[in-house]
Symmetry: C2
Subunit: 345 residues, 2 copies
């Protein structure tokens, strides 16, 4: 790897009995992870070290959980949605700021044969340690830096653009992370060796999804739920699927989200004029403009010509897996989902 | 206790073998703590539960450290300034939001016979758990609520009003805590049963000193160093000693702190006009006005007539204990300390 991390890690591990396994792809794939689990069991591995971005860390979490699982199929860990209380201990060396997986106990894994991209996790899946060196950002391609900025930004929005919940300090923290991401974005996009921008970008990504801003506050995650389906269907980068869904989701749900969107407009974007609804709409436009400033397109048709039928297909996928409601109040219906996705064509 | 906490705790502990000890005073006193340590040793206590405010929790941390200490005198734990790596496990039930001790590993203890009020701590002194119920605030006297607001506010300032250090996200978090304290202050002072104000006040106090905003940033703590001496000399409440020192400390050190004070003025107090120095001075006035709005006086002469000679005495106390420098760059001299304290008369 041109960032030099591989050599650094090898050197740090000299003297230990180390087995290497590469090839965990973006959207960590179940079949690849199964191979890793087999190696862990046959070779009596006792500690895992994830060196990579969110996909590698998420995949390692799955391996960690599966290594100590006694049931029939490791996929149960994902589908049963039971919190994972114990996993094989693991550490992480983060090479791509974005997902926050380095400081949380959640994971998203993908299964191509069933077209599933699903989240799981539990208190047993926190890393023992994570090493974050902002200098790794210097070797990340610009489109992936853009993805990281957008991903972290949406992580915060999913925990902030809800109904007002009196979590005044959490709101300030969320706004602070978003302000920092907005402020560092042009600098880190232009010059990834800018240490000030790189370090604040990296720390913002971690704080966006380590549980801090979630304390005592509701969370939406509908954008992620829908976005995951777009990745499964079209192979679109995770962060870009979020950018595709955001505007239509917030526009469609304006009524229940307008107070927080207006506060967002005022505090983060400095919008001072207009009614609550006008400010909320201004926030939605500002968010879209931020994605565009990162070179991220925000319509599904920007990524594929074959978008017809996507809305109905996705809504039906959720129904087939057992509809549990969606959004911070679990009040969205499959019909709502279809409309939101269609608005994003 | 009229807050009902005592009964709640007793009920929760029914079935356990519990020894009670009350009487830890504000500024936990060494001689009282020694008695507790003796009981812990003779009765084979294995777990400590601090039910109270910062003084009770800090005192419990000292007991925790001393219970496992083999040396000659437990006071060594304080004077040797060696990080405490292991303590007897303890939990906390917080009854007075202010110090943040419920989520950090630091402690300040007092020894009347030698007129010392000193900090110590280490990774072995984190609580196993802390219970924070904002409803306890309803029974706290108004002057103690004011103390808690001022204490937490100065905790943030000590980690923020330094030289600029490129910690962009930490700055935003610090500003968010201070904004929240400013916003809740009039509400919680007026009506301590206001749950929204109480919960955000309590959470702000914890986040002000749990290490979060300290990551990758410099810290001053000179206000605390000088304030502790005022408590030892005159018995002034801890928070009020901080309010006494703040204005003169920031005015005296304006040159090295003006950039952060100006940022403070802009982002927290909405000051938009003026030079950096004018904004910095505006911030200092705003801080003083905030203390006054809490009914907290900001001159030493507001608390005692016997202030003559205090400045020289305090400077000399630090010299006698071994001068290590003071302030975020350790650049203040004993002469600087004397001048700052004198400005606060």
């Amino acid at each position: 790897m041109k960032n030099g991390i591989y050599d650094q890690v090898k050197k740090a591990l000299s003297g230990f009995n180390v087995l290497e396994m590469g090839g965990i792809p973006p959207n960590p794939e179940y079949m690849v992870l199964l191979k890793a689990i087999e190696i862990v069991k046959t070779e009596n591995v006792t500690f895992l070290l994830a060196v990579g971005g969110g996909s590698v860390i998420d995949g390692t979490k799955f391996i960690s959980a599966a290594a100590l699982y006694d049931g029939d199929s490791p996929w149960d860990l994902v589908t049963k949605q039971v919190p994972i209380m114990k996993g094989m201990p693991f550490g992480t060396v983060l090479t791509l700021p974005a997902t926050g997986s380095e400081m949380n106990s959640g994971s998203v894994v993908t299964r191509k044969d069933t077209k599933e991209k699903l989240a799981f996790g539990g208190p047993g899946l926190f890393p023992q340690f994570s090493i974050l060196d902002p200098q790794v950002i210097a070797s990340i391609p610009q489109n992936q830096i853009a993805n990281g900025l957008a991903d972290a930004f949406v992580h915060v929005m999913e925990q902030y653009v809800t109904y007002p919940a009196d979590a005044m300090l959490n709101d300030r923290f969320s706004e602070g992370i978003m302000q920092t991401l907005i402020e560092v974005a042009p600098h880190i996009m232009k010059d990834p060796t800018n240490y000030k921008a790189a370090s604040n970008f990296m720390w913002s990504c971690t704080m966006a999804l380590n549980g801090l801003i979630q304390k005592g506050a509701p969370a939406d995650w509908a954008i992620h739920n829908m976005g995951h389906e777009l990745t499964m269907l079209f192979g679109i980068d995770h962060a870009r699927t979020l950018a595709i869904i955001t505007k239509s989701h917030y526009t469609y749900n304006l009524d229940s989200k307008k107070e927080k969107l207006a506060q967002f407009a005022e505090r983060v974007w400095g919008v001072t004029n207009g009614t609550v609804e006008e400010k909320a709409l201004a926030a939605i436009d500002k968010i879209e403009a931020f994605f565009h400033s990162l070179g991220i397109k925000t319509k599904l048709s920007d990524y594929t010509d074959k978008y017809e039928g996507t809305a109905e297909y996705i809504a039906n996928q959720f129904v087939e897996r057992g509809w549990k409601g969606m959004g911070e109040k679990r009040s969205l219906t499959p019909n709502d989902v279809a409309k939101i996705v269609k608005m994003a064509y």
